[in-house]
């Protein structure tokens, strides 16, 4: 799956500087599936390409290879970065807030703790010190950001609020159904 795809030589001549090709291939392997690495001849001919075919918005960097006059072109698919950003935004609250702490998520396992601490920062006090309304809003806040899809999230929030997991599930059930029921009822 991560094996680089080799488009082969584009020119009629066999590529000289095999070590440059080998370097490009090894580089593509190290960089992973989001990057494409090409060896480009002085006349602009793409002699060898490793990595995925890139679609959409692509950003590229060129690295000269002085000995042969060729250059390496590194391409990155920005649409993949956009997709990664959307995923991160689903996990993160206050992504655009200036109050967001400098530390980003280091492990998805920690995401729940991060979300709770971000919620605490947005309210200005710890969950234990929050009043009734603030606690209720934090739960809704977390739910709206998909926090309860995370492992152990209900347990974590229930412990923090001093209620049972049952109650949190129950509350989520009720608060989610209110959204769909409200247009017809009340």
């Amino acid at each position: 799956m991560t094996a680089p795809r080799n488009d082969g030589d584009r020119g009629s001549k066999p590529a000289r500087g095999g070590s440059e090709r080998d370097f490009a291939e090894a580089l593509a392997q190290v960089l992973g599936p989001l990057y494409r690495v090409s060896v480009v001849a002085p006349d602009g001919t793409e002699e060898a390409t490793f990595g995925p075919v890139l679609f959409g918005r692509v950003v590229a960097a060129e690295i000269p290879l002085p000995r042969s006059g060729r250059r390496l072109v590194l391409g990155l698919d920005l649409t993949a970065v956009d997709a990664a950003r959307r995923t991160a935004e689903l996990l993160a609250i206050g992504w655009d807030d200036s109050e967001r702490p400098a530390g980003a998520f280091t492990h998805v396992d920690q995401a729940m703790d991060e979300l709770i601490s971000l919620a605490e920062q947005s309210v200005g006090r710890s969950l234990a010190e929050m009043n009734r309304l603030e606690k209720q809003r934090v739960v809704r806040f977390l739910d709206e950001r998909g926090a309860f899809a995370l492992r152990k999230s209900v347990e974590r929030v229930a412990d923090a609020l001093g209620v049972s997991r049952f109650t949190v599930y129950n509350y989520l059930d009720a608060s989610r159904s209110v959204v769909t029921e409200s247009p017809q009822k009340n």
């Binding site: 009043n131 009734r132 309304l133 606690k135 209720q136 809003r137 739960v139 809704r140 609020l161 001093g162 209620v163 049972s164 049952f166 109650t167 949190v168 129950n170 509350y171 009720a174 608060s175 209110v178």
Partner: protein
């Protein structure tokens, strides 16, 4: 009788009364239940998502029954209850 066995048990009953309304003080249909429980002298904890009452099973069940009636009279539409034997 089963009731006789339960009488010696300590239980914790936690319930959430719907419709759920966000706010710093509980809505009237929740407050009605809390008032009944508070008058019982049992240990009552009013949480952000639920209310919990603990004590001897027979006393707790009696109090919860009265509290539920008060809640329904005050407009409760659904009461979700969890009972746990704690000793």
């Amino acid at each position: 009788m089963v009731g006789a066995i339960l009488c010696s048990s300590m239980v914790q009953v936690e319930f959430t009364i719907y419709p759920f309304q966000e706010g710093n003080s509980p809505p009237a249909h929740v407050q009605a239940a809390i008032d009944v429980l508070s008058a019982s002298g049992l240990d009552v904890d009013v949480g952000p998502l639920s209310t919990t009452v603990s004590g001897p099973a027979d006393e707790v069940f009696d109090a919860v029954r009265s509290a539920q009636s008060a809640a329904v009279a005050a407009g409760a539409e659904r009461i979700v209850v969890r009972v746990e034997v704690i000793g």
